[in-house]
């Protein structure tokens, strides 16, 4: 089916006009340049004035973008890197190409459904330890405007990058944005970590992203090294199409095989597996080992397509403690042990991907080891926060495979855990939350020492848990205010959409609030307060649900114990803001990079 993405607010700009002018802006050796011999003197003069014009334009874009960012921060509208990029791109659609061309060591792009942030984090740490200046886009700002923003904030008012020497950029890129990103940045390496089902209501189908990737890989320059996950059939199959070098990474430790063990979910129903049939002939793959979802050692019984032999391999994975994985890694030049300071098998893949890129870039072994072993997880990727004598650990989970792996990591040893789940359905999470029914919450049943359920779709999650065998009485359900969706439509109609659905929404708002009234399970008093009468709830909401949920979850966790918080993406941002309000984490736009 046709690929479906919401047209991002500012997507018109960059693509159409990017080809013009770009080739004049390539000072770097080894890159295609306009042939000087073919231009006449007049043309050359025209060229010069054109270049001047473009520099001016870049300068204008940089100045305006940064001013917009400063204003946005001032007005507390948000972190501001996206707005910086957005404004800069508006004024100069080719700003990304213009600035990125100045990076001495070029760019690396990281994409995939899960693990983009952690993989680019590992890689950035390795490259820094190798003495490079590493620039990244802010986590989650992985559309083009985020990339533009990351470059513009490091540019001078002259339109040139500050300290571009020794600099390399590592950008995490949204799966669907890869084609444009690759064209603008001509990366030295492009990393594809995995492809899982994620936000069907945003991307359409998994296959549509795969098709997009295939198309893009065919057009990659020979100078780009592809780094692919050998264990993920769709991702690995991109290697066949590449014109440049390809590096595969994968797991070789067969003791991690799950087939027959818990490859199937409860009641003989199937776990989320998002890529089952051969990319070449459509037959079902046969797995000799399966690590999770569709990751493993596969072969097509019909056409013989099989997992490529990885060049960067994890021979053995042992778990020292919950978040210390001891991995024996073999590359064409090295064999050594690396300790990954994060929980979950998925982080082994993330580390392998980073190691593979580092090898492709010619980085030596020491910075690879130190970069990974001393890695500080990004917010929400296993980071630890101390609150009132308890430890909070945040584990982002935004799709079925991600959440299944988090649950496996948390509950495979049978240790009871204190849990807070946050299920949101904001745009970045996806409006459709049906995916929670593909998550095997059954695994956690009987193993929660305390259980709090929150978020804009808390009731949906509570229902899922009920059918996974949790008694409603053992859950503390703290929804965000039930009329949220209406507030959005009334409060901030996009321009040009005025009137559409407005009257209806208003009409709706006057109806008594059935959800709050009928509540019979354990809903906290604060949440009921939050769900008071519609009039009181007019902007802004008095105490939204998440602060309360966090409070309740902490209360239920005895001092000295750990509360595991598993939020969706915007749930994580909300939590971050809440912890920030309590002075426990830095402002998210004051990140480390």
């Amino acid at each position: 089916m046709q690929q479906h993405r919401p047209s991002p607010v500012i997507s018109q700009g960059p693509n159409q006009s990017e080809s013009r002018g770009s080739r004049w802006l390539r000072p770097k050796k080894g890159r295609p340049e306009a042939k000087p011999g073919s231009v006449t003197g007049a043309a050359r003069a025209g060229q010069r004035s054109r270049r001047r014009r473009l520099s001016l334009r870049a300068a204008l874009a940089v100045i305006s973008g940064r001013a917009a960012g400063a204003l946005s921060r001032r007005l507390r509208l948000g972190g501001g890197t996206s707005i910086v990029g957005l404004v800069a791109q508006r004024l100069y659609p080719d700003i990304i190409r213009h600035l990125a061309a100045q990076l001495e060591h070029g760019s690396v792009l990281v994409t995939g459904t899960n693990g983009k942030t952690t993989t680019s984090g590992f890689l950035a740490a390795i490259l820094r330890d190798a003495g490079l200046r590493v620039w990244r886009n802010r986590e989650g700002a992985n559309l083009l405007r985020g990339v533009a923003g990351a470059l513009v904030v490091r540019a001078l008012p002259s339109g040139n990058l500050r300290r571009a020497g020794q600099a390399i950029s590592v950008f995490e890129i949204d799966e669907a944005v890869m084609p444009q990103a690759v064209r603008l940045l001509e990366p030295r390496a492009a990393v594809f970590i995995n492809l899982f089902r994620d936000q069907l209501d945003r991307y359409g189908e998994v296959e549509s992203v795969a098709a997009l990737w295939r198309q893009m890989v065919k057009g990659l320059p020979e100078t780009t090294t592809l780094v692919l996950n050998a264990d993920d059939p769709t991702t690995a199959s991109l290697g066949e199409l590449a014109r440049g070098p390809v590096l595969y990474f994968g797991l070789e430790d067969l003791t991690l095989d799950l087939s027959g063990q818990d490859g199937q979910g409860t009641a003989g129903t199937y776990q989320a597996v998002d890529s089952r049939s051969c990319v070449r002939c459509g037959s079902d793959y046969r797995y000799s080992a399966r690590f999770y979802s569709h990751m493993g050692h596969y072969q097509c019984p019909h056409c013989g397509l099989e997992r490529p032999a990885p060049t960067v391999r994890a021979l053995q994975v042992r778990q020292d403690t919950f978040d210390r994985l001891r991995v024996t890694v073999e590359t064409p030049t090295q064999l050594g042990e690396i300790v990954i300071p994060l929980p979950g098998l998925y982080n082994v893949y993330n580390a392998l991907a980073a190691i593979a890129v580092a090898q492709a870039l010619g980085i030596s072994w020491e910075p690879i080891v130190s970069g990974i072993e001393q890695f500080k997880p990004a917010f929400g990727r296993g980071e630890r926060v101390q609150v009132a004598g308890r430890t909070l650990r945040l584990l982002l989970a935004k799709n079925p495979t991600g959440l299944n792996e988090v649950l496996r990591t948390l509950f495979s040893e049978g240790t009871p855990r204190h849990m807070l789940f946050v299920l949101n359905d904001n745009i970045a999470d996806g409006r459709d939350v049906s995916w929670i029914w593909d998550v095997d919450f059954e695994r956690a049943q009987g193993l929660t020492a305390s259980l709090t359920v929150a978020g804009t779709r808390a009731f949906d999650l509570a229902l899922r848990l009920k059918y996974a065998g949790f008694a409603p009485e053992e859950m503390t359900i703290i929804p965000s205010t039930p009329l949220r969706a209406l507030e959005e439509l009334i409060g901030s109609q996009p321009r040009g959409r005025k009137g559409r659905g407005r009257g209806r929404a208003r009409h709706q708002q006057q109806q008594p609030d059935a959800v709050a009234a009928k509540t019979s399970t354990k809903v906290s008093p604060a949440a009921e307060e939050g769900a008071a009468s519609p009039q009181e709830r007019a902007t802004p909401f008095p105490g939204y649900g998440l602060a309360t949920a966090l409070e309740r979850a902490i209360e239920q966790t005895p001092v000295g114990e750990t509360l595991f918080i598993v939020p969706t993406y915007t749930g994580l941002l909300e939590l971050h803001r809440e912890l920030e309000r309590r002075g426990l984490t830095p402002h998210y736009w004051e990140g480390r990079d």
């Binding site: 904001n426 995916w435 009731f459 899922r464 507030e487 941002l573």
Partner: protein, 279 residues
Amino acid sequence: MTNEQGKDTRLVLRIGHLYPQLMSVAADRGNLFAIVKRCKWRGIKTAIDQIFVKQTPDFTQYDLILFHGGADREMEVAARDLQAKAPSLREAAEANTVFLAVCAGYQLLGHSYKPFEGPELKGVGILDLHTEGGSTRFMTHIAIECEFPECGKQVLVGYENHSGRTYLGPGAQPLGRVLAGWGNNGKDGYEGAVYKNVFGTYLHGPVLPKNPWFTDLLITRALARRYGQVELPPLDDSTEQEAHAAAFKLAMAFKGTVSAIDATPWRERLSPGSASRSL
């Protein structure tokens, strides 16, 4: 409480789950969970057969058959395989076996599915309807109003995500009237189809957990085939009702939007972080 089993009624519901792996795109396995749990809580046993490609069981042995959604590629595989199963499936439908078919499964119970691009797929022909691929995709919250003799007027809530436009022939009744969302084709105001005990719908969500009245209707009708009229004891459905009410509100709030994501205000789209401020 939730794991408790109701007093054994000695009733067994036989379920056939068609293509449990191939056709499972939008977590529709939740429908199976809903049926199994609501039976268990009432002391009714369930026996589930998973039916894969190349298998041709006698479908008339089942009280209830589940056939869920899949992406285009999987749908092609299923359509090819389905032709061998079709005679027995039709026989089961005529013998009053209950069917719940969702999205692609629903489309394939009709006569044909013509994708927007690519060759036409032949369906089973149990439901008198055909489907054509559209150029836009309906991806939003949906609520429909249904009416059945057992339960009167009731509302079904869910999420639709389809580009197919389905048109019913005279041999099929719509499942319900669209209150919000698009339904079969976005034009005639109806959603889903019913023929005897065969129910087809575009509703994901999955549809059954949040609509316990519908789950119970399917269970009652499925049991009636071999046990006659069985009165299902009521359950505490407060969690279900809360989720239902929340989904209904969303459907009404997003009424008129083709895609719930495109309908999102600019501020939230600008940066996901700013969204939570307005919570």
